[in-house]
Symmetry: C5
Subunit: 359 residues, 5 copies
């Protein structure tokens, strides 16, 4: 499901000066699209552009009010677009570099005139698979710019809520918008958690049915994904915590209360992921214990059969010898007696094993 190793790092930019704009990561969408939403207490306006000049021209000519602007860019592989927008909004080139390098760990950076946030976002990609991509978010005075790797539209609910005239958005500022976007991202984490939980349960059921290499691999697979999730969630917690405590004038008191609530959600996710880790470890323990148990049972049967029949076979072997002078062979009751001896030995052994609780 996740591909930690291929995504976690890259040396593509080694040797380049800091702030070089190189897109690091897989190309997740074909075309780049820019969505501009502008709203204030009375107005709501949405425009979509597929071309950065068009967008910049539109901005220059029309956007003059003091409303909140949300520029949402999907697709990162055309670095020229990112650069143009960056130049237009006076964004530090280190921020632009971070946006393009999609192997960032979640973080919040406080630049003088804006807050920069990066986080991992999970969403359903066409089929049932969940994929991870990076979301970068710049909160400036009166605007939010967000950059998304893929082209999956996960922020429709946010737009719907903005559209509603009586919505809380209309009275709040850009900080509330940034909060709402982050909140939507965090909500998707719960979906991932649900999915992992279902798989954990499925594995648990399999576990009691059979001890196959396949189950083992599935557990290890799950464990790795949980570790990956953990690596995404722990810095996210740190980021939200920093956001909660920030005294940046860009975040209003009212929004702070919502961020506290968001922080609470993230802590719950961290808790659950930790529980998942313990459960995965526990499943491995159960697997190994079960395997040992089974081995033990198998060994007991082997030992039982072997220790009973090996001596008996030996006795039969004795009287299969061809010595000329073996008096027992001539006895009238030799054969029945030998049966008796064997049965007695067998019963004694079984009693012995029963006492030792090996049976």
């Amino acid at each position: 499901m996740f591909h930690l190793r291929k995504e976690a790092y890259s040396s593509k930019t080694a040797g380049l000066p800091p702030g070089s704009l190189v897109h690091v990561g897989a190309k997740k969408t074909e075309k780049v699209s820019i969505t501009l939403i502008e709203y204030d207490e009375k107005r709501f306006q949405k425009n979509t552009f597929e071309n950065v000049e068009e967008f910049l021209n539109f901005q220059d000519s029309e956007l003059v009010t003091k409303s909140v602007r949300w520029i949402h860019v999907r697709g990162l592989h055309e670095t020229a677009i990112i650069e143009s927008i960056g130049k237009h909004y006076h964004i530090h080139h280190l921020i632009l570099e971070d946006i393009l390098n999609t192997h960032q760990r979640p973080k919040l950076e406080d630049y003088e005139d804006c807050l920069f946030m990066v986080m991992k976002m999970f969403c359903h990609n066409g089929d049932e698979k969940i994929s991870a991509e990076q979301l970068s978010l710049i909160l400036g005075h009166g605007f939010v710019i967000s950059f998304q790797e893929g082209d999956k539209d996960v922020f429709e609910p946010v737009r719907k809520r903005i559209k509603m005239p009586q919505s809380r958005f209309r009275k709040a500022g850009a900080d509330y918008l940034a909060y709402a976007i982050t909140d939507t991202v965090v909500d998707y984490y719960f979906k991932v958690i649900e999915e992992i939980d279902e798989r954990l349960e499925a594995v648990e059921e399999d576990l009691f049915a059979e001890f196959s290499q396949k189950v083992l691999q599935e557990i290890h697979e799950l464990k790795r994904e949980i570790i990956f999730l953990n690596k995404a969630v722990l810095p996210l917690r740190g980021m939200i915590s920093t956001l909660e405590k920030t005294d940046s004038p860009m975040v209003s008191d009212m929004t702070h209360i919502y961020i506290r609530d968001l922080y609470d959600h993230v802590i719950r996710i961290v808790d659950i992921v930790e529980t998942f880790r313990e459960m995965a470890t526990s499943l491995l323990d159960i697997y190994h214990s079960g395997l040992s148990n089974k081995m033990n049972e198998i060994m007991k049967v082997l030992t039982l059969i072997a220790t009973i029949f090996i001596p008996l076979t030996f006795i039969a072997g004795i009287y299969g010898m061809n010595f000329k002078y073996m008096p027992e062979l001539e006895w009238r009751w030799g054969y029945p007696m030998i049966w008796l001896v064997m049965i007695v030995i067998g019963i004694v052994m079984i009693i012995y094993f029963s006492k030792k609780k090996w049976l």
Copy 2:
């Protein structure tokens, strides 16, 4: 006993705006009931309502004194009731959302005009089973509002103590009432601990009687419950600690001493739960060691029997061959001699094993 996974999280509210009032969690009771207790140094009055309008009307008309009011709501699935009460007492909508989402981790939130606490509560549900539910508690100026998922009445002892005219409650404020409710919840933790302890002891006894898959599952079951308990207790400790250190004007100096005592109890619970964890781990170790020991013993018997009889059987096999020219077979004392050889081999082997301490 506990159902961690089904309760720990939910994506029911994903995509909804924050503060949306949706009841997340199982419906734990059929009807909602509201109990209103009002007392001051001289008066004690108790009323029960099954209808929120009735309750609100009653309040508006009659409650005008400066006494302490305790509104206790059992059952959360009718969100309209929670909403009405919330509106009446000017409670922040994020608090209401938290009350309804019963997957909260224990926490304390300091709103300007009230303290909001959430915790897990354990109680006996009809039969012998202990179940966990969520208790939310709002401490405001002169009132406490508590919300409980189920309809089990666990706070009767508190009410009894309030009723007593000379009780400490009568002179103390709403903060002492909040403390007393929390204290009652914490006391129930000790009951859960006792139950787990009994089961740990039972498993320990079973452990020395047999090494079955069943015992193993019971240990893992216990371990999971202990982990669940831990997850409930650790944030509870943090919550009580915050409460102890709060400088909120709503908590008096006198109550602070009681909260310190309560904190002490919670620390003891944390300690015991940690000990339980170590014990469960230790039991697993003992289980595996015991299993290895047993395996070892079984292997020793198998080896003993096999290594003694396999060579002897081979010898018997030799003289069971039908070669025409086998001089030994013709010897007068061949048969007794072969017995002698076998007995000597057997004795030598037994001596060897005794020396190696394998016997």
Copy 3:
């Protein structure tokens, strides 16, 4: 030796108001005795009472000087006595409750007019067994009140040192007395440590002699006791540390230096207990490694015998068949040849095993 589980908690007081005086814990002595020692630079006076009224009357009439008073109570099951003393010295009812509940974890509480300390004390009980009991200690202005569960007198050395006219006690205040009592308690920890050390050494010797279930149980038993000791010692360290840093006017500068020394002792105990833990874990590892080694050796012997003789027995079986037309059987040198073949096979196998270092 220790009985962690039966002592660590209790729900006896669940539902009772805080401060209810109920004796929680086993009754460790038959009769309660009260010892009063009073001393100043010139005087030393010791009185023993078996009756609380007698004690209180005595106090009221005679104790008027500014000397240091030490009231030592042995036996906790008569709550009336504790209550009377508590009332006489204006002790907070939460302190009295803690004194009676003998499942406290070591702690120090700073009340306005006194310091309250609880700790676990170890002492020899008649026979060679060491038992744990709780010691509570109240340090007030000019007096120390100490409560002990059992009736074993462990503080005789302290009394002797007080009696000596030139002793440091005579010039110091009640704080030095409290320090001296605690120091005596801590000194006993070293005895417990010595005992555990001896047992660890004994187990280690046993370990190399045999791998029995008994040794395993002894190690687990030791481990549990070490955990118990750890649970007593860690909060004790916290307590002494708090005491060292306290700025309570009741503790003089001179005594602070002694408390620092005491803290040092406790840290050493913590260190040793931690080392013990690691040693117990290490012993378990050695046990399991040794067991695996032995299993390995046993398996090697089994494999050696089986793999050599099974093929040989098969060959013997071949020529034990009764087919009418088996040319080998008629050969003159068939029998010696078959012996040759068998010996060659045996030697080849032994060489193979030697090369593989399985022999």
Copy 4:
């Protein structure tokens, strides 16, 4: 690849006074070379010396401007050179000692007139092997002196960027140069990480192909290298963190932003190394689980064969006995009947095993 043990410490200098200049570590290059780069907004000048006097003379005569100077020394075994430079730049003798002892852990030391940094540097050495060496860096007012153990030139990209007239270097001070050097070093860490990652993947593939001792050794080898990397990276993080927070006047505000970015990179490296550790541990777990699984399967086959045929062989042995009076032998249908009995026993056993899921 790495040689932790031979490099991590040395007692060569034991007993010497602190500050004694002894080169501790392997000699990593034949000749020592000194490169001097001097630049300001307009000028860029580069000179290389192989002789310290030449270098010092050059400096005295020519370097009088207020530009930034970068002195880069490759090769540490000629202590006289280090000493001369140290004297010329008034560098504390403890710094010089640290430069020569190449077993330093990464650290930053704030001397009054300079910042001293030590770090581990990785680079490709001729063939494909990556080797670790020590880089020391002194940041003074207007100059950076860097000392490198080996003679591999890894800072060419930095020089190229300095050379470009419009480069950021030209306006920034020596602090930006120090940052750029450190950044280059950190970038190489990503290469090491990539290499380890490839080897981890290769091992993982091998793991599912076979369970050989070789794979095991490779995993342990990797684990050791990851531990070594961790030991280099963790103090590096501390060092960069200190650098970020330093209020030294030598580091400008502008450079601080770049150091924050660098810190971010280091944190990502720490994260990845930690993930590697978990993966290596996980691989070991998978190895052991797989081995147990295989053992289990083998045991099952052995048990199956043995438990089916041992009883049957016994029966055959019975009728191989040579007793005179064995009625069954005379029966007309004795032989077919015994076959029937054997087949029935075999089938019953197979059914039994199938039910137990051992087949």
Copy 5:
């Protein structure tokens, strides 16, 4: 090598008043010797005494200058000497007690007029064995008093450096002397580390040669010594750290820089010891993995032989039966046919095993 348990604690002093002067620990030398060194910028004077009166008289009469005095006492069993010196220099009796109790953990205590340090010191004792002893050090105004358990002279290098007229000692104060002594002690730690490293390497080589109980014991032995070393080093780090941060007027700014350097060394030791721990754990892992691997191989051979020959032996057994009517026995090609059947079975089995990769 080390004898942790016998040295780590003692109850010899239980019950005694604090500050009682009892020598706790083994007597490590026969005679006590006192060395007095006195030096200032111009003078250097060294005297050795074997008698405390002689020493005290000497002091009273001759030492009047403002030079630095170093009194070094070797041998602790004559408590009277320690007491006399203590009285002469007004040393707190708790310090004297700590000097005599050689089971101290390394610590630094700040008394008003002196700094008291205790640490573990390692040195070669005649033969090749390294032994641990305690070094106590009192740094007062203008003097250092050091107490050593044994009589091994390890501080000769320090004396030599003091003797040199141009040495740094001559200008520095007593604090630099205290630093130099501690530095010498710390340098010896590197020797111990080297020794352990060599043994670790030796064990590692042995490990791949054989899996004997002896190797296992050696690893456990090493692990214990590493733990012991860790217990000595961790508090040493704390001690040096406290010393570095102390604002005691007795430590000059110049010395602080040297202490920072010393602290650096100690941190490196801590790092290496931690690495050793991980290596020892890793060696144990390798041991167990190797053992499992070997067991697995052995089991495979056993299974191979047994599963091939057991069925064949059964077939041979069949035709060894003596039934009167066994038609196969009469067949002309019966014997060759049975050989054919057996060979086919054998080949099929070998192919099966090859496919399963068990061969």
